[in-house]
């Protein structure tokens, strides 16, 4: 498919979108003005509709394919959450008019705060972070603020498992910490000895995902929390994997002091091809003063945003306004649908699906990274044997899956598992879909024997074949530039066209 720019013609317009030619010039001195119209594209409304409709068909998505992308919880995004979160009364609301015009929205946000507190066992929640990583930043910033408030300025180091998601160390670094990596033991648990050796007066805290990114539950979580706390550090919970224990285990009960959640994972808000998400943070009592702003409070029957005046010790603001409210409303609707009894069901069936799928794939001849462990809501395969014997990588298998009509699992993460496929089916997929996936994986395994080159060069049935990433970075074409930049012509008198 061509680019939208290829459809552009000087003077073409989506007529009804263009206001009438203004009668007067701007009351702005020449020096502030553009000398030429911006070099955008000029297309008709049908051009744009057709182009972007057809482009969309070039995506795999949850709405069209099984999407077992590990660590991403690509569950069904209920259509009703979208429909209700986009009621006009929610959309047509200026952030500066919330106090007078937004009581309905604020009521939803307040209740969502409360529910997330309940679910996590935390004392208070701020909904503002725009995604998981921003939640992490807020979390580490709060840890920093907490230690400083106690006058303890020596705690400059953040502990992060080697299996952690990349955002964890990146957020710690943005939060001004040195990152100390803690190794994983052969059962997929944190190496307790290494942890014991690493903690000290310099330790600000430990960032942990549990269940971990390796697809297992960190068994020694209580011991770990005790070690970190004893050293004066705080426990940070990366909630990306909450789906595995939703409604069963509260992060607070595991000893965590600060958490973030990924509403665009556990709470079924759509990922949008890369966001927007929402990464609310929660804290225990001692960190409450530091929560990022704004938060919603109820005062009598009215709601309002808390500001700097209410919370002078807050780490401050992360966004200009109150967060990704549209995403938060979707999560709110989702929780209303699930209700109390629906929470644990999510965890149970997500776990059932993952364990069943792992079991079937092992029987089909694949190697689990931690066969000795119960899988949680996801599990890791290691394809190192395939790599060794057939020079077929995890990436090759992933690409070949695309030909079978499945999106691929997460590839090569966590990095410490060689040739890793991290597979997360989620609770919204049926047994039949899992069985079909097993069939496809088995077929690829057979093909690796019979015709390895086909696997190595996959995909073969999509609009494009394997794309050249190295060349992309070398040539670096990241923006279209027109060969000759045609100027916008002046409107002229024209035959038959009043």
């Amino acid at each position: 498919m061509g680019l939208i720019f290829d459809l552009s013609q000087p003077g073409r317009r989506a007529g009804v979108q263009v206001p009438a030619q203004p009668a007067e010039p701007p009351e702005i001195p020449e020096r502030f003005l553009r000398s030429a119209a911006p070099r955008l594209l000029e297309v008709s409304e049908l051009d744009a509709v057709r182009h972007y409709t057809r482009l969309s068909q070039r995506n795999y998505a949850v709405d069209t394919q099984f999407y077992p992308l590990g660590s991403c919880t690509m569950k069904y995004n209920p259509k009703v959450c979208h429909a209700l979160a986009t009621l006009p009364a929610f959309l047509e609301l200026h952030p500066e008019g919330m106090e007078w015009g937004g009581q309905g929205t604020l009521a939803c946000l307040f209740e969502l705060q409360e529910w997330l507190q309940t679910i996590t066992g935390m004392t208070a929640v701020s909904l503002v972070p725009a995604a998981g990583a921003q939640g992490e930043f807020a979390g580490v910033a709060m840890i920093r603020a907490y230690h400083r408030a106690r006058g303890d300025t020596a705690r400059s180091e953040m502990l992060v498992p080697d299996a952690a998601h990349g955002t964890n160390p990146a957020s710690a670094a943005m939060g001004g910490f040195r990152v100390q990596q803690i190794p994983t033991d052969r059962d997929g648990n944190l190496d307790l000895e290494a942890l014991g050796a690493a903690v000290g007066p310099q330790t600000a805290g430990l960032m942990l995902t549990n269940p971990s990114t390796l697809g297992v539950f960190e068994k020694h979580i209580e011991t770990i929390a005790a070690i970190v706390h004893a050293a004066g550090g705080l426990m940070y919970y990366d909630g990306a994997n909450l789906n595995a224990i939703l409604g069963l285990v509260r992060p607070a009960d595991m000893g965590f002091d600060v958490i973030h959640l990924n509403l665009h994972k556990t709470f079924a808000t759509p990922h949008g091809g890369g966001g927007p998400g929402a990464g609310p943070v929660g804290v225990r009592e001692p960190l409450l003063p530091f929560l990022p702003l704004p938060r919603v409070v109820r005062e009598g029957s009215r709601y309002r945003w808390l500001t700097e005046a209410d919370c002078p010790d807050s780490i401050g603001r992360l966004l200009a306004f109150g967060g990704n409210i549209g995403v938060l409303l979707r999560a709110y609707v989702y929780l209303r649908l699930l209700g109390k009894e629906g929470l644990a069901r999510v965890a149970r069936y997500a776990t059932l699906n993952a364990n069943y799928l792992q079991k079937c794939l092992i029987e089909a001849g694949f190697t689990a990274a931690f066969p000795q462990r119960r899988a949680v809501h996801e599990f890791a395969l290691t394809l190192k044997r395939l790599r060794k014997e057939r020079q077929i990588t995890a990436l090759d298998v992933a690409k070949r899956l695309l030909d079978h009509g499945f999106y691929a699992p997460t590839v090569d993460f966590p990095q410490l598992i060689p040739e890793c496929l991290l597979i997360e089916p989620t609770e919204t997929e049926s047994k039949e879909t899992l069985d079909r996936f097993v069939e496809a994986m088995s077929a690829i395994l057979r093909e690796a024997e019979s015709d390895p080159a086909t696997v190595r060069t996959a995909p073969h049935s999509l609009a494009v074949g394997r794309l050249d990433e190295v060349g992309a970075a070398r040539r670096l074409d990241v923006a279209y530039r027109r060969e000759s930049e045609a100027a916008v012509p002046e409107p002229a008198a024209f035959p038959g066209n009043q």
Binding site: R13, V80, L84, H94, A170, S171, P276, L462
Partner: protein, 454 residues
């Protein structure tokens, strides 16, 4: 069971395959004392019941005719934008890690990057950040990284939106970047280029230039950029993207152009939604691309030479570089960028220019009507784009409350953020506002100011 497809027979069969008796047996590795907390949420409901409840809650919002801006603007959004952007293929896809099965999202983002870069007259745009404020903070961190001496001091004029300045403080504090606030000229409501001399030789990495600034006033961007060029200071343009339909783009400021340009993309097709989701954009010169935070899409070819798109320069990012990445950002605001791309395609350069011009004229008309109300006057001289600061004879917050009871959102009271402007009200009128609405505002203000005040 909401959204869970398992039949009882299937669950039984799956449990049997796993050799366990109940679902709860699957959690046997979790210490027993951690399980079994209480989760006192309300019980689940059917879609029908939740829809009723949400309609009731939505009814507790009250529509106000909007004369507020300050970083979020009510513009016309073509119906086509969201009818396409919400298609399941865009909406329910993840960040396009498997490029071959994500060409839709990737090509849209490439087109987005192309449009934003072209609008800013710079060479590169990333694929979105969280919002304008965090984009500014990221831009400043990037400026420090690209500054030849990696100086840890940045100039942040007070004409930058207060909310943005707060976010900059939050995000720069841990990196110990010092923020120097530049005052504004009290007559012109903008930075006085002549006053910058004070910062020369001060080890400054970056200068932020808002255009238009928070007061709606136009900054002397050429002179200011010129100063920064001469001082080796990185210029960070903070721009309203609608204004770029009319105003000189950052890439053409001064002699060399601004180095970075950022801002909030909300005016491009994103509903107000009480404050989000919006999206941030960040553009730079080609030479600085390796310090750019966030996703970046490149055009490439496949094994058969067919054109395609991939995420590129991922070594800048957290999932590769971890603690050494240019930013921690992972999920961004992709769907918003998708909507903005469709929006821009529909508007085109002429639609953008005329929309900008309409906003400009509407605000001029609004100001004219409001300053005709006794006691109301304009605070600053000089050109503005589509916002302006007025002085009211009564406390602006109280006036706003009274206007709100007449279903008008009259603007933003400046006193909290600018004590010296305790009587100041920031007003805005976009192309959506009608003559009748301007008139209704003026009349309501007139009546309110004539009311008895305690």
């Amino acid at each position: 069971m909401p959204f869970i497809p398992h039949t009882e027979d299937e669950t039984r069969a799956m449990l049997a395959a796993l050799g366990v008796a109940t679902l709860d047996d699957l959690f046997d590795e979790i210490p027993a004392d951690l399980r079994g907390g209480e989760f006192p949420l309300p019980p689940g409901s059917t879609e029908m019941e939740v829809a009723r409840e949400m309609r009731r809650l939505a009814g507790n919002n009250r529509p106000l005719v909007c004369f507020a801006g300050g970083g979020a603007y009510e513009h016309h959004i073509p119906a086509a934008v969201w009818q396409i952007a919400v298609r399941g293929e865009y909406m329910s896809a993840y960040t396009p890690y498997q490029a071959e099965a994500s060409q839709g999202t990737l090509q849209v983002l490439y087109e987005y990057q192309s449009m934003l870069a072209s609008l800013c007259a710079l060479e590169v745009s990333n694929a979105s950040l969280y919002d304008g404020a965090s984009a500014l903070a990221e831009a400043l961190l990037m400026a420090v990284r690209v500054h030849r001496a990696r100086a840890k001091r940045v100039l942040l004029p007070r004409t930058v939106a207060p909310g943005y300045r707060r976010v900059v403080r939050t995000l720069l504090a841990p990196q110990e970047v010092e923020i120097l606030e530049i005052p504004y000229d009290e007559t012109q409501g903008r930075i006085d280029p002549d006053r910058l001399a004070a910062y020369e030789g001060q080890d400054v990495a970056a200068l932020v230039l808002p255009q238009p600034n928070y007061f709606g006033q136009l900054e002397e961007v050429d002179a200011l950029t010129g100063w920064a060029e001469r001082q080796g200071v990185v210029t960070v343009a903070l721009v309203n993207p609608i204004a770029l339909g009319l105003l000189k783009p950052p890439g053409e400021w001064g002699t060399r152009g601004a180095d970075l340009a950022c801002g909030d993309g909300q005016p491009f097709g994103i509903p107000l939604s009480g404050g989000g989701p919006y999206f941030g954009f960040l553009c730079c010169r080609r030479e600085h691309v390796h310090q750019l935070p966030g996703r970046l899409v490149a055009r490439t070819v496949d094994s058969a030479g067919r054109e395609g798109f991939v995420l590129t320069l991922q070594a800048r990012e957290q999932h590769i570089r971890r603690g050494k990445a240019t930013s921690n950002i992972c999920t961004n605001q992709g769907l918003m960028a998708t909507a903005a791309t469709i929006h821009l395609a529909l508007l085109g350069p002429e639609g953008l220019r005329r929309t900008a011009l309409r906003c400009h004229h509407r605000t001029r008309d609004l100001v004219r009507r409001l300053v005709a109300v006794p006691g109301v006057e304009r605070v600053f001289e000089g050109a503005c784009f589509h916002e302006a600061v007025l002085r009211l004879p009564r406390p602006p917050r109280e006036v706003l409350a009274r206007l709100a009871s007449r279903s008008i959102l009259g603007g933003i009271a400046l006193g909290l953020d600018y004590p010296e402007l305790a009587e100041g009200l920031l007003v805005c009128a976009t192309e959506l506002r009608t003559e009748a609405e301007l008139e209704a505002y003026a009349q309501a203000l007139n009546e309110i100011l004539a009311e008895p005040w305690a």
